[in-house]
Symmetry: C2
Subunit: 199 residues, 2 copies
């Protein structure tokens, strides 16, 4: 038998196929049959490795979240990192995946929708949301009073989600550059409007 973890290879194959199928056919149209066909594997293997369709979907969302986190880590590593630069890097990280994978925005939206009726997916979504928010607050606190930092972080988080949503909508042609620029403009506006009040 193949010595090197066949399991991890197959799992990734199926996750990739899932993303591919969701992009084309949407969440509703993502059937085991289509996923199996896209992965060039059989339908039975899904249950074998993930216990069922739900397991595969959860694994796929975990994979997307881990990609996002990895992007963020890369961009944050080895920078001078003034608070402002950190914030800008976070914004970049949150849109870096979009450029290469225009479809990922659609997939995210599909998962958001699905998460509302699946406790496990909801939990994953919450964890990620919390992390983004506390990251933003951590850096903003160095630039403005705590209360303003809280408000600015929530506004910025909503803005990022909103641009993702818009990206998912605008069929094919999306402009992450513009979204990043607008977010950064907002950050500078917020800093200017609030600084001098704390330090």
């Amino acid at each position: 038998m193949a010595r090197v973890g066949v399991e991890s290879i197959r799992r990734q194959q199926l996750i990739d196929a899932t993303l591919e199928v969701i992009e084309i056919h949407g969440f509703q149209g993502a059937t085991i049959g289509k996923i199996a066909a896209a992965s060039e594997l059989s339908v039975g293997i899904v249950s074998h490795y993930f216990g069922g369709k739900q397991g595969l979907l959860e694994a796929t969302m975990r994979y997307l979240l881990s990609c996002l986190q990895e992007d963020a880590s890369k961009l944050m590593a080895g920078q001078p990192n003034t608070p402002r630069e950190c914030l800008m890097a976070i914004v970049d990280a949150n849109f870096s995946g979009v450029q290469t994978h225009a479809q990922s925005a659609k997939t995210w939206l599909a998962f958001w929708t699905q998460a509302m009726h699946s406790p496990e997916l909801m939990r994953l979504q919450r964890v990620n949301e919390r992390r983004l928010l506390s990251n933003l607050i951590f850096h903003l606190r160095k630039l403005m009073p705590g209360e303003s930092a809280q408000a600015t972080a929530q506004t910025l988080a909503a803005m990022i989600d909103g641009f993702w949503l818009r990206a998912a909508m605008s069929e094919g042609r999306i402009e992450p550059d513009q979204a990043v620029a607008l977010c950064k403009t907002y950050i500078d506006q917020a800093i200017k409007a609030n600084n001098g009040a704390s330090e």
Copy 2:
């Protein structure tokens, strides 16, 4: 048969039932059978009045859009209406539906997702998006240069969508008041940051 438009009564019955079922079971779980049961009508009547499930869903989305527009009209009518007050009213209008119908956010998200794979729903979504954007730009132009107005409008639109998304996520407990407050804070920040440059 009943002289007064039975048709419009039945149609509204089915639309209401659709919203109810989507809220409880999600978009995927919204089957003809459940909708028929919730409306206390039969399954056959859906095809009779809407031609099929897809027709019912489109009609339901149109209904939601018309509610949003109606809310907006009410809030815009009979005000002194400085440009700034108009902007604030638009923000209020975009969150006024949330308070009474916490579940409508979930339904909106479901429709957004569905819209990506249904040209007709996508068209409706686009029309609505355009209207919001051009409304915002119209009023912002009186307060800042055209380019800034464009950017501010896009940012604000994304922000509104983002807060809706967040409202849909936070199970039950949502705070539209906070979203409105943060949007308004942003508007004032944007005005302050850009005024004096144009007039």
